[in-house]
């Protein structure tokens, strides 16, 4: 792999991480609007929203530093999570054991959300933080086990290297299912968006944020969703084309397919979202507990070599 390819793809990666998520959000909004038989916002609307928020002064309901820092922590964590994933044949940041880093920084986004929620004496933010915590605690192990199963199969602890090495067995296929589920839940899509439920708890933690802090926070969450879905899309697309793609051109091919799968995923998620109502938190926890048991079984299967 040439240095140029590395630099070019890393640059593209950073651009994608920062600027693609709002577009994806806009696309999702447009799709939902179309399903509801209305025109919907322009595809670029999320950019406009972000720009207006980022250009506005926030109001500080508290003096606590945690409140001010939380959006930045979330943003940095989300970007870091996205950076350990493969873009074409290039992984911008890669080292042994980055699986754990990925899971860790992903959790950090949620933790930042909780820090923010608990830094205020407000029932809505507290409830939002509480729900986020419960969801994270119930789904992160599933995500970890799913990736762990795949890592076991691929014999690598680099998350970006897994899709290049994974072989298809029963346990891997099941792990893919679990991965998809946990990505969906962790992404906070309907029916699992209880932490930011607008009608129930006024978007939870966000209810006290304003101005550019809100902008950064929302951006961070979009990047987190992007990272999660990019993970899934990489795991789907790279094994398909890894044998025929070599060199910089191959990398570009992979990237294109990754993007296509990503858009496909986003589209289907938007469709699922508009066809569902939000669940109650205890319903979600019950469901996730069941899935967790399954994921342990899958890991055992993988350990047995199936």
């Amino acid at each position: 792999m040439s240095g140029y390819e590395r630099i070019a793809f890393s640059f593209i990666a950073v651009c994608l991480i920062l600027f693609l998520p709002p577009l994806l959000d806009g696309v999702a909004r447009k799709i939902k609007a179309k399903i509801q038989l209305r025109q919907g916002a322009p595809i670029l609307q999320t950019y406009y929203d972000l720009v207006t928020f980022l250009s506005m002064e926030p109001v500080y309901p508290t003096e606590r530093l945690a409140f001010r820092l939380a959006p930045y922590i979330a943003f940095a964590s989300a970007v870091s999570a996205a950076l350990v994933l493969p873009y074409g044949r290039v992984i911008p940041v890669s080292f042994t054991g980055d699986i754990f880093v990925f899971l860790y920084v992903l959790a950090m986004v949620s933790i930042a959300y909780m820090i923010a929620g608990f830094s205020l004496n407000n029932t809505y933010t507290n409830t939002g933080a509480n729900r986020e915590m419960m969801i994270m605690l119930s789904i992160e192990p599933v995500l970890g086990l799913a990736i762990g199963t795949l890592a076991l199969n691929a014999h690598t602890l680099r998350i970006g290297a897994i899709p290049f090495a994974v072989t298809f067995t029963l346990s891997v296929l099941l792990a893919y299912g679990l991965l998809a589920y946990s990505v969906y839940v962790e992404g906070g899509f309907i029916p699992f968006d209880v932490a930011e439920a607008e009608q129930e708890i006024l978007e939870g933690v966000f209810s006290e944020y304003s101005g550019y802090l809100l902008g950064i926070f929302k951006w961070a969450l979009m990047i987190k969703r992007f990272a999660l879905l990019w993970l899934l899309s990489s795991f789907i697309s790279i094994p398909l084309v890894r044998n025929i793609a070599s060199g910089a051109l191959g990398g570009a091919l992979i990237l294109v397919i990754q993007l296509m799968v990503l858009f496909l995923l986003y589209t289907s998620i938007a469709v699922i979202e508009s066809m569902n109502a939000r669940l109650r938190i205890e319903q979600i926890i019950r469901q996730n507990a069941g899935v967790f048991v399954c994921s342990i079984a899958v890991l055992v299967l993988a350990a047995l070599g199936w």
Binding site: R29, A33, Q36, L37, R38, Q39, G40, A41, P42, Q45, Y48, D49, V51, T52, M56, E57, P58, V59, P61, E198, L202, E203, F206, S207, E208, Y209, S210, G211, L214
Partner: protein, 283 residues
């Protein structure tokens, strides 16, 4: 820079829900305010604009004040939706409605005071920044009306109304009709009970047209028969016949000379009564 994104927080200061639901309505498929970048904000902290409805009751006043203060310092656009928010509406001087002392409670001031502006003025007096107020009257305003107001706030359209001050110089018209003004007014009043205030103008106009053509009561009778045959609406036909009966009765009452013999006319009037009361309306 034109605002391309407008998060609106909805503030109900005691409205009847008519405006609330129309506000919801502009988010729904036929109107879809999202295409203009409008979204309902969950919290005043996110809001660029505050959509206020209601006449501002005293109980809501304090909470409403806190809500506006919780908004980011700028732009704080206030969108007053509905007549109540614009000026207090029909409730303007009820005892639980908030009004500033200088607005009085029974004044003859104009533009009429009341509604959300009382709160805006209080906040400005306290030194809080509050942005422009867009007034969207209506009871409740149609969704298009609200969209128009929002578009005005976003700078997408130009305003169309302008205050007017007319004096005698505009001139005076006292229109003449084919029938005497007093009789016209009586007939107009009678029609209110038959077809209602809205449709009566059209019916009366048609009737006067026929009267102008007719030279005698018989001829009028014939013309009205013809009109009813052409017009398939039984309600309009009924109204026409009622009008004719009333018209002939009034003519007689005031001692005008009615063409045709009195006896024939009497018989006709009686006949009309039967037909007007008997076969009226669709069954």
């Amino acid at each position: 820079m034109r605002l391309r994104s407008l998060y609106v927080f909805h503030l109900d200061t005691g409205a009847c829900n008519g405006c609330e639901i129309e506000l919801f309505d502009i988010l729904t498929p036929y109107y879809d305010a999202e295409r203009l970048g409008v979204r309902l904000a969950a919290s005043p902290r996110h809001a660029h604009a505050m959509a206020a409805t209601g006449p501002l009751t005293r109980q809501a006043y304090y909470a409403a004040k806190e809500a506006i203060k919780a908004m980011p310092p700028k732009p704080r656009i206030i969108v007053a939706i509905g007549t109540c928010a614009c000026s207090g509406g029909i409730f303007y001087n009820g005892y639980p409605i908030y009004r500033r002392p200088e607005s009085g409670r029974e004044g003859q001031e104009y533009p009429r005071r009341g509604g959300i502006f009382e709160l805006v003025q209080d906040l400005r007096d306290e030194g809080e920044y509050v942005g422009p107020v867009v007034y969207i009257p209506g009871c409740p305003p149609r969704p298009e009306e609200i969209l128009y107001g929002v578009a005005l706030a976003l700078g997408l359209v130009e305003k169309q109304v302008k205050g007017e001050y007319y004096t005698e110089e505009v001139g005076f018209e006292l229109p003449e009709y084919p029938i005497e003004e007093r009789i016209r007014l009586s007939l107009r009043e009678r029609l209110k009970y038959v077809v209602g205030y809205f449709d009566r103008e059209k019916v009366l106009e048609d009737f006067m047209g026929l009267v102008a053509k007719a030279k005698s009561a018989e001829e009028l009778h014939g013309l009205i028969q013809g009109y009813c045959l052409k017009n398939p609406d039984p309600r309009v036909s009924l109204a026409m016949r009622v009008l004719k009966r009333e018209f002939l009765r009034l003519k007689e009452k005031y001692g005008w000379e009615v063409k045709g013999s009195a006896e024939a006319l009497q018989g006709e009037v009686r006949g009309l009564q039967v037909s007007a009361d008997g076969d009226a309306g669709p069954r």
